[in-house]
């Protein structure tokens, strides 16, 4: 990772810019787009933990996003619960459903897991669409309340809502950072590399995979609940499979299996699609080829690409240094020491 663009600096830069962003601009539309981007980022982080770090590509996460959103919507609008109680409960519901689904889905691997979860995501969408007595079907849920304030802090303006979402995003990034740099994170990566190998060094893959799955559905649910409270109206479309492919695009553009990838990918794609709005449906003509090129040349996204380029440069430098050292050893101490070293 290059000295200036390492992940810690990117995150610090992001935190600073995002903190002052609402103070620089008075355009509520920009703040609105930014808040939505943050909400998606949380979900993309969940997807990243599962698909990027553990190697299980779930296509059901739009479904869990919708479950989080509808959980909050139904509990506040229909059951008239207080906001934060409904918020916590909607997360618990998502996690519990994630646990049940994970127990079954994680029996499959690789493509089969992706296909299974794709079907599952569609089933979740259908249930939301058709179960009219509970979800209001295509009419959608209207009138979801804004988050209740704490004392003097209220979340009724765009700005205050922006900071609330930012708070949750930073929390998610912190949790991700801690997970990735811990033994659990390394065991997830070990599972991604080779499940057999992970097993032979004593990692219980079944338990670890289930933990990751539930955690990542929780992130998706959190993202959904925040979405519902921010947009205040939800329809079954948010659970549509198209949504998971949006999330996947953000993740792949930024860098799958990297800590800063979801940040960069989501911001870039969302702002780019805002900028290109004049082109309307022709946007996709620009997006499609760009995405294809990126996947071919930088399969680990922008962050992965930058890291690789930097690593190659470092390796080259090291090789030059090592080359000098080797010739020194050979001439001075003979070949035997080299054998011992290597």
């Amino acid at each position: 990772m290059s000295a200036v663009l390492n992940k810690r600096n990117i995150i610090i830069l992001f935190v600073l810019v995002s903190l002052v962003f609402p103070l620089i601009t008075t355009n509520t539309y920009l703040i609105h787009v930014m808040t939505l981007a943050f909400i998606w980022m949380i979900g993309v982080y969940g997807l990243n933990l599962l698909a990027g770090y553990t190697g299980y590509l779930s296509l059901a996460h739009a479904g869990f996003f919708a479950i989080g959103a509808y959980g909050l919507g139904i509990l506040t609008v229909k059951a008239h619960m207080s906001f934060w109680l409904a918020f916590v409960l909607s997360l618990l519901i998502t996690g519990l459903l994630g646990l049940i689904v994970g127990l079954i889905a994680l029996r499959s691997k690789e493509h089969f897991f992706a296909i299974y979860t794709l079907c599952l995501g569609y089933i979740i969408y259908l249930v939301i669409d058709k179960w009219e007595s509970l979800t209001e079907g295509v009419r959608g849920l209207i009138g979801i309340p804004a988050p209740q304030g704490f004392g003097p802090i209220k979340f009724e303006t765009e700005k205050s809502h922006y900071y609330l979402v930012l708070f949750f995003l930073l929390l998610v990034i912190l949790v991700m950072y801690r997970i990735v740099h811990s033994l659990s994170g390394r065991s997830f990566i070990a599972i991604r590399n080779s499940e057999d190998l992970a097993l032979t060094i004593g990692i219980s893959t079944a338990r670890n995979k289930l933990t990751v799955f539930v955690l990542s559905t929780l992130f998706a649910g959190l993202s959904g609940a925040l979405y519902a409270s921010f947009v205040r109206f939800i329809g079954p479309d948010i659970g549509n499979t198209a949504v998971i492919f949006d999330m996947l695009t953000y993740l792949i553009v930024g860098g799958i299996g990297t800590l800063t990838g979801p940040l960069i990918g989501t911001l870039l794609v969302i702002w780019l699609s805002q900028l290109l709005q004049d082109f309307q449906q022709y946007r996709m003509l620009i997006f499609g080829p760009l995405l294809t090129l990126l996947v071919i040349f930088y399969p680990r996204g922008i962050v992965g690409g930058v890291t690789d380029i930097y690593r190659k440069r470092m390796a080259k430098k090291e090789k030059q240094l090592a080359g000098k050292k080797d010739s020194y050893i050979q001439s001075d101490l003979g070949a035997k020491n080299q054998v011992k070293e290597g």
């Binding site: 390394r186 004593g202 893959t205 054998v339 290597g342």
Partner: protein, 253 residues
Amino acid sequence: MKFVITRRSLRLIWEGVPVLKLDNVSVKYGSFTAVHDINIEVNAGEIVVLLGSNGAGKSTTFRAISGLNKPSTGEIIFEGKNLNKSSADQTVAWGIGQCPEGRKLFHAMSVEENLRMGAYVHRRKKDQIKHSLEHVYELFPILKDKRHDPAGSLSGGQQQMVAIGRALMSKPKLMLLDEPSIGLAPLVVEQMFEVIQKINKEGTTILLAEQNANAALKIADKGYVFENGTIVLKGTSAELFANDEVRKAYIGA
């Protein structure tokens, strides 16, 4: 380094019970029988070698012992416990450490991270991990110098050291080493076998799969010769060394 014998292994030696026993074990991949009806006994403190060419069934036997493949018939018994139904991560916790064929490190992780991963089953015992780490660095001083380097940047011999070290970190009673000499220069192989002998003297029982019969029989107590998924010959290393067929097939003299 002290000669460590646990009370349990002492009792096992006393009673003459083998640490590991494979009783008429067969392993199938689908309808194909990879290993047919084999019997192996490994006693506490021994080095036992499984000889055989590629595809003879050595690695499959290892996969069965470690729990990655389940035997279709027969019993695998480790310290009196039946391993047939246990999962691979459980066997590690019970004391079977494994060093897979072809090293299989986590290339992007540093040497030390790789070693620490090996102590996964002891992850809450911080002191023990520290001691094991020091022990591994004592056995392979070069790894200490390279502990912050990514494992993928190491030479073949060094990677093999990391793989053995990683297996040692789980404090195994029985260590499975699958072809530790593969792809290494002769001098490095010699070094590797010296270390294996040292690990054995420190109290770890070792089961070794090898094609390099010459090097392996020098340090082993006894051996089994695999051919086409069955054991065709067994004996002490001296017996096998003297056997004409073994000499012809694996030593080339």
